[in-house]
């Protein structure tokens, strides 16, 4: 039986990886995927906790989070498409008309 702490640790690592990816990746799409990784890290944590404390709530949350992620993805992709239409690129660093 693996202690919940391990899951927690794993999720933390995952989350950090997501953050890391968010920084190293250079285009909107992959950066958003990095965010997805972070969200799923949280999901993992939730599940572990739910298991440990035997609360169903934790598992329900995961569903919510997934749904939300999906919704975000929809809007996000729409925006990314919009950006691509206008600029023929989705490199994040190109987005610097607004500054200063």
């Amino acid at each position: 039986m693996i202690p919940p702490a391990a899951f927690l640790l794993l999720s933390a690592v995952l989350f950090s990886l997501g953050v890391l990816a968010f920084f190293v990746k250079k285009d909107l799409l992959t950066q958003f995927m990095a965010v997805e990784v972070m969200l799923n890290a949280s999901n993992l944590a939730f599940l572990a906790m739910a298991k440990a404390s035997g609360q169903a709530a934790g598992q329900v949350i995961v569903l919510f989070v997934i749904t939300v992620a999906a919704a975000e993805a929809v809007i996000g992709l729409a925006i990314i498409v919009l950006i691509f239409r206008q600029r023929r690129t989705i490199r994040t660093d190109e987005l610097k008309d607004l500054r200063g």
């Binding site: 953050v19 920084f23 994040t92 660093d93 987005l95 610097k96 607004l98 500054r99 200063g100």
Partner: protein, 634 residues
């Protein structure tokens, strides 16, 4: 009639107000009459009051009238109240009498001037303030007159304000006076706070009552005297008076010879109780007076401008008055004030008549030989000269002698010597003037090349001259030397009611000796003048050449003006300019604008951080989060 003595100042005041408000609309005739008449009425009132006092004899406390409670706040209060005692009576008579004559004289002298009404408005205004000064029974109110005459002096010196020299002289006069006044104010403050009252009675009584400690008495007296040196043009604040000659000549006669400049002496006499109480202060007064008397006289020796000679002579004569007051002979000082008022205003007016005759020429080097041309002016001028020179039995002789005698009697032998040498110099420069102006060939050069048409002045000018000449000649008999009997010195007795009596008396023989000495001095001076400027006109140049240093020093008036300019004025202005540029604009404003700039550049920095790159934003977010969590955990 006497009850209305308080109208004495108000009449000319009202006239002045009227002239100031609607002067230009009035006819010259009306203006002249109004101006002179009001002064005449004041004169009449003063005369009435004077007679009243004489009749009342000693022990009469004089007349007093409080017009309105003026300033009152907490423990400070000053009322507008006038008092008419012996001292005030004498002074008022001088002011209104001489003033009247000069008003009349001005009618002729200023006849051609554009700003006729303004001139008489100022002249009346001056008379008003001067009389306020004289009649005030309260030192704060006296200060009103004190400053008021200063203002009028400023206005009248700068009467022809289009002339830069004139307006400059006016300004100089006012500011220099203000320096004295600052000290005066401080003195008054000491009195107010320590005596707790501003009335002369209380102040004069204070030292005796012990309200004022001896040290304080000296301090206050000296402070007030500094004010006097400003008003009465004594060392070190005399520098404004010679320049004041830029004003119209009647003004010089009235303000800068007869009345205003002697206000300092009057003030000292008013407060004789205070001054007499401090030996130190008195000797300061005496020494400043004595030194000024000689100092100014030496400068007068080498002046070429006829009015400036008279100006320096005025300074010197006022020096005598202070010398008198300083040695405790206040009556003598007042006496000399009176006689001086007569003969000096006479001299000025006569000089004015000369200038008038020469169409504005003031330089004696371009005069000469006017004796014939000015049949009235010359004799009266001569009378004045003899009087001031102290030739026996003329007014100046008695008054000056009274001062010197009491100086000697007080044991102030050095001061006596100073006074005596001053007397010699006085005779010398006066007769230098006489000879250069009236004798010899005419040196008058006229732009047209032709000799100017020299003409005697109209009677409206000459009549006052004659009157003054008479007084200059005879006024002395109001104060004969005591050796002619106790009652001889009438004016001294009259004033004793108010003034501290002169302490010492001398043996007859000594007095006679002193009188002879004085006479000798006067004659010696005249003789020297005769030799230098009549017999051997080349002598002056040679003497000058043999003592170039001294000569240049005298011509340069000891370079006092230059010294003041270099030591006080210029450093002050330059310094202020530097501070303004360096500190005001540099440091203070610099700090303000600097902080503004700092904020702006901080903003610029933030704007640079706001790079527009999501990565940077996320980084800031992350760092912030880490920091925050760190805080929570630690």
């Amino acid at each position: 009639m006497v009850r209305y003595f308080w109208l004495i100042p108000l009449l000319p005041g009202a006239s002045a107000l009227l002239l100031l408000l609607l002067g230009p609309r009035l006819s010259r005739r009306w203006i002249s009459w109004q101006a002179c008449l009001t002064v005449f009425l004041s004169f009449a009132l003063s005369l009435a009051g004077f007679v009243h006092l004489v009749r009342a004899g000693h022990g009469s406390s004089g007349l007093a009238k409080t017009l309105l409670p003026w300033i009152a706040s907490g423990s400070f209060s000053a009322a507008i109240s006038f008092a008419f005692d012996e001292l005030a009576a004498v002074m008022a008579l001088v002011v209104t009498g001489v003033g009247l004559l000069i008003h009349v004289y001005s009618v002729g002298y200023m006849a051609a001037d554009r700003a006729y009404s303004r001139y008489f408005a100022y002249l009346n205004l001056f008379t008003f303030f001067m009389l306020v000064l004289v009649l005030a029974s309260d030192i704060v109110l006296m200060f009103v007159g004190w400053e008021g005459v200063g203002l009028c002096s400023y206005l009248l010196i700068g009467f022809w304000f289009e002339r830069p020299a004139a307006s400059k002289a006016g300004m100089k006069a006012f500011i220099v006076n203000r320096i004295g006044d600052a000290a005066f104010i401080v003195g008054v403050l000491f009195l107010l706070v320590n005596v707790g009252s501003s009335s002369f009675a209380a102040i004069n009584a204070a030292p005796a009552a012990g309200v004022l400690g001896p040290g304080l008495v000296t301090l206050v007296a000296i402070l007030l005297f500094v004010g006097a040196t400003g008003k009465s043009a004594q060392i070190p604040l005399y520098v404004w008076l010679p320049d004041a000659m830029e004003g119209p000549t009647p003004v010089s006669a009235l303000i800068h010879a007869a009345t205003m400049v002697t206000a300092g002496v009057y003030m000292v006499c008013r407060l004789s109780g205070l001054f007499a109480a401090s030996q130190a202060a008195s000797s300061v007064v005496a020494w400043v007076g004595g030194l000024t008397a000689v100092f100014a006289a030496t400068i007068a020796l080498v002046q070429h401008d006829i009015k400036r000679v008279l100006a320096y002579s005025t300074i010197s004569q006022i020096g005598y008055m202070f010398l008198g007051c300083g040695v405790g002979a206040y009556a003598a000082g007042m006496f000399h004030l009176v006689t001086h008022a007569f003969f000096k205003s006479l001299l000025f007016l006569a000089a004015g008549s000369v200038i008038h005759a020469l169409g504005g020429e003031q330089d004696m080097r371009r005069m000469g030989g006017l004796k014939k041309a000015l049949p009235t002016t010359f004799p009266v001028f001569l009378v004045g000269a003899l009087a001031i020179a102290g030739v026996p039995f003329l007014s100046g002789f008695f008054s000056k002698d009274a001062i010197l005698t009491s100086a000697f009697a007080g044991g102030h032998y050095v001061l006596y010597a100073l006074g005596l040498s001053g007397a010699v110099l006085t005779a010398l420069y006066m007769f230098r003037l006489i000879y250069m102006t009236f004798y010899g060939q005419t040196r008058a050069t006229h732009p047209a090349g032709t000799a100017p048409h020299v003409h005697e002045s109209p009677p409206v000018m000459t009549v006052p001259l004659v009157v003054l000449a008479v007084f200059s000649a005879l006024a002395g008999f109001a104060g004969l030397p005591v050796l002619l009997g106790e009652k001889a010195n009438w004016i001294g007795g009259f004033l004793e009611a108010v003034l501290e009596p002169a302490a010492h008396h001398l043996a007859l023989s000594t007095e006679v000796g002193l009188i002879l000495a004085a006479t000798a001095a006067a004659l010696a001076g005249i003789a020297m003048a005769f030799v230098f400027y009549r017999k051997r006109p080349d002598l002056p140049e040679r003497t000058a050449r043999s003592f170039p240093g001294i000569y240049r020093l005298l011509v340069g008036k000891y370079y006092v003006d230059e010294a003041y300019d270099a030591v006080v004025v210029r450093p002050l202005v330059r310094g202020a300019e530097t501070v303004y540029a360096r500190f005001d604009l540099g440091v203070i404003d610099g700090a303000l604008d600097g902080s503004a700039a700092a904020a702006a550049s901080a903003g610029k920095g933030l704007n640079v951080l706001q790079s527009g790159l999501v990565r940077d934003y996320a980084l800031a977010f992350l760092l912030g989060a880490i920091l925050f969590l760190g805080v929570l955990l630690l």
